[in-house]
Symmetry: C2
Subunit: 451 residues, 2 copies
Amino acid sequence: MKKILIIGAGLSSSSLIKYLLDRSSEYKWKVLVGDISEELAKKKVNGHVNGLGFMFDVNDASQKERLVQEADIVVSMLPAYMHFTLAQTCVKYGKHMVTASYVSNEIKTLDQEAKQKGVLLLNEIGVDPGIDHMSAMQVIDRIREEGGEINEFESNTGGLVAPKYDNNPWNYKFTWNPRNVILAGQGASQFLHNGKYKYIPYHKLFERTERISISNLGEFEAYANRDSLKYREIYKLQNVDTMFRGTIRRPGYSRAWNVFVQLGATDDSYVYQDSENHTYRQFINSFTQYSATKTVEQKIAEYLKIDPESEIMYKIRWTGIFEDKKIGLKAASPAKILQHLLEQKWAMEPDDKDMIVMQHQFVYTKNNIKKKIYSSMVVYGEDQMHTAMSITVGTPLAIAVKMILTGKINLTGVHMPIIKEIYQPILKELEDFKIKFIEEEVDWVGVESGA
Amino acid sequence: MKKILIIGAGLSSSSLIKYLLDRSSEYKWKVLVGDISEELAKKKVNGHVNGLGFMFDVNDASQKERLVQEADIVVSMLPAYMHFTLAQTCVKYGKHMVTASYVSNEIKTLDQEAKQKGVLLLNEIGVDPGIDHMSAMQVIDRIREEGGEINEFESNTGGLVAPKYDNNPWNYKFTWNPRNVILAGQGASQFLHNGKYKYIPYHKLFERTERISISNLGEFEAYANRDSLKYREIYKLQNVDTMFRGTIRRPGYSRAWNVFVQLGATDDSYVYQDSENHTYRQFINSFTQYSATKTVEQKIAEYLKIDPESEIMYKIRWTGIFEDKKIGLKAASPAKILQHLLEQKWAMEPDDKDMIVMQHQFVYTKNNIKKKIYSSMVVYGEDQMHTAMSITVGTPLAIAVKMILTGKINLTGVHMPIIKEIYQPILKELEDFKIKFIEEEVDWVGVESGA
């Protein structure tokens, strides 16, 4: 039996583990699942005859060495910064490794040695990054093969609550790591628009959204991701005029979120004084000027030049930030305080389901005619364990593991899924899991103004 | 002869070295001046019979050990992050050390050992920090001795061009490190106002200025410094309702500077693409949205909601940022590009003189009567070498060195000049150098609105 070692049994591993266990008898696989929580690892294996859940401590070097040595392939679901030492061990013992994380500069340094050892380090094969790469490259390669040239590329992705369960004024719930949502966009965002480099500082990001529309789902908005420029090289799109990657929210989210950004309430760089005993109202008041006569609500509306009865202010009030309720967190940053409040308001209910929405836009020229393709994917969660996020992250990872173990992928070195021999069979099989893209082609109607 | 070792012969050392050399025969001092540039060190010593200028490399451990061992006292004019290893060497060989920099957490760890060795590590004895501490503590201690209680404390300082040479629309020139001016205020500012903690994020800092007025000099504005709260403990003002420290500019500076902040042009965290070949106009355009029809000037006025013919836009145009002139800097951040432009526009002319402006405001209660004291200092530069900055940084340092060597200060351990036995004689002697505070007392007229 071939041994698959999966490290990390969190939410994103559920669908990965299920896929591999479901096929373990057919392919003669042993699926070993290690997690810092033995209970969680065992729960995910669920007593399957070909599975084993156990306690794994990434800091226990001897356990790590032994397990990697005994495995045929390793899947790391650890936080990204923990991949490197594991990857070193995999290269040392000649074992393939697969992750859903971005290729770090550290991981890149292992390329030569991995090639010498005949080892594949396959990264960025979850959803974003992962499905985004594969589905974009499929269209890009096809247009090129047909003699077209890509002029513009834009890609937006979002994790949201499914429409049926979308019942708060923000049209948003936490379907993934809340901390990442609170800190989203910090730093400057860079992209290319109609041949011009564009930079947006954090405090302007949520004002510069653009509208997008997805068939049968309605309207969304997108704000720019940090670095869109690096994808030019990865996708070999050095000659495009527009290169933009963004995050999808429902319309109105960004302008309301911008209130917290403008006030400074998303700052994670300092400790808010006496956070344990202050109330949320005191907290939000600390970002406004002192006044002996005005309410906090009045001060914020004036400071940020917002209509006090607007939809924006309604969303802010709904969070409970104006309530005189104790925060109760010790030595917390503003970002942590805001996260704590929103975890209570934006929580998924037990029966809620999430969705992943992704849309690429390609403008290309063929025979002197310009066309635009919209390629959109919508995936819904099944239940609390097999969320849309878990399905879309775990399934491509699992298919890649199968292809490597069955000799369908024979690469060595550090890779991401941008070559046809990887993306084509994976996208094909993903359709069995209702993960598919719908394409619409329209005539190109001229320069659009974007973010 | 007693040996005074001065490390660093830059602009801020000029008045320090002159003071010590002028008194070297009387007190029998040898003044040793080391700098990475031997030429600069020799120039500052200017052939004085009791002086010696030489090349000093802070990374040459054996030279450092030898020089410290031979010295009676060490003055470090190095950048703040370099003080620690030098301080360790001073403690090792039982030598006193004096600096104009903030006490770092690292320096604090040396307190016990310094006491055991009978060594004084005296810090924050320049102008800001330095003269600010001493002059504030003198008033605070006096009010307390007279039975008063301090309710509010505010202190603002600025380095500016002297009125006679103040001839550009910003009423500002670089009289000190330009990089610090470009990056000023990044991070969040914290202070206390009428009993409330207040936090201002960077992108709101330059909108939340307050006006101040200095007799015979006219109007100024001040924006908040990063951390005003820590001064409560240092000055033993734990019970004050208002604690604010700020930076002084001429009115209108901050609102115009805010344009660069809002656009993101002061960001030092990433490299602007192709900075060498782009023009300043392309650079500033990169922070605005794409438009096929509008000029950059129009776009900025609309984006930031500024009257295109306003004083603010006039200041921005004056910098040359809209000109199609090549930047010519390789791989530069936005902050570096902006600094490069302004170094050409905000340069001091050879005959220009600078000034340092400082004003404290104290509200106190005595016998149930509330009063307010304004205590203001204005110092003008003498020439290019003895600038107001050099005089106000170097003279208190030099006086402290004299007092330590003549046994007038007998402290050991890590200190700053907040105790009477240090500040009283130093402030007294500073008056001989036209460094003095003018006090005005007025009746307190009620709660003011501040930043």
